[in-house]
């Protein structure tokens, strides 16, 4: 199955995880404490986020820490900006057309 950043942010728990680790790298156990769901459920979300390349693992001693891939988050902004651009171009064309047919 194809994974991308939009799948990553489609789920409220995953958005909450992103918000938490944006502040600091966290272990799965520390993360799980913030949620009412099971440790397994949190692990599943972490796996999806990893597959989406939105977070990455870092080993510190025996612990695994998850941290955010900031550059990947920027892809979302970039994508929205391109979409906005399409509409901007389209509307400028309409401006031109309106000024012509007005006369």
């Amino acid at each position: 199955m194809r994974r991308d950043i939009f799948q990553a942010i489609a789920d409220p728990t995953r958005r909450a995880i992103i918000a938490l680790i944006a502040l600091q790298a966290m272990t799965p156990n520390a993360l799980a404490e913030h949620f009412d769901t099971t440790r397994q459920a949190v692990s599943k979300h972490l796996r999806i986020l990893t597959e989406c390349e939105l977070i990455k693992q870092e080993h510190k001693g025996r612990e695994i820490y998850y941290q955010l891939e900031i550059n990947k988050m920027k892809e979302i902004d970039k994508w929205i900006e391109q979409f906005r651009k399409i509409w901007e171009t389209r509307f400028n064309q309409l401006d031109d057309l309106l000024s012509i047919i007005k006369k």
Binding site: D4, F6, Q7, I9, A10, P12, R15, I76, W79, I80, Q82, F83, R84, K85, I86, W87, E88, T89, R90, F91, N92, Q93, L94, D95, D96, L97, L98, S99, I101, K102
Partner: protein, 166 residues
Amino acid sequence: MNSDLLFDFSVNKENKTVYIVREFNADLELVWKAWTTVELLDQWWGPKPFVAKTKFMNFEVGGRRFFAMVSPEGQERWFIQKFTSISPKTNFKTYNTFADKDENPELLGSEWDFNFSEQNGTTKVSITIYNESLARLEKMIEMGTLEGCAMQFKNLDELLETLSQK
């Protein structure tokens, strides 16, 4: 282009909705016409370098517009826009789907809501686009994300900037 005209664009990823608001320096009658008349629509709907090409359009409730976005290389991307509600010069709603060239629609679509209002000769158009899936929302601008196309937009920006400085 009048830079005083309002342009708002926001994407709410959580409820898969896009909001677009834009003002136009023309009266309601004319703006409504530009959005609902095929001859006029095709003149501006395709964001450069794309061109919109409508095969047919029945602007009535239950009617459809079957159109393509044509790339500079001649590649066609087909869409079906079904008109689900029309209140003349106030609002119209559509259900949009991607399609193949033989009018076969794809499964998931998006709901579009267009609102028109005029104040002091300026007409405001507000659009809400609700997508059934985020993947589709992403696909909606697939053509715009092509590297070459993004570059062209960028080139155009730079060109306009250069020109406006003169």
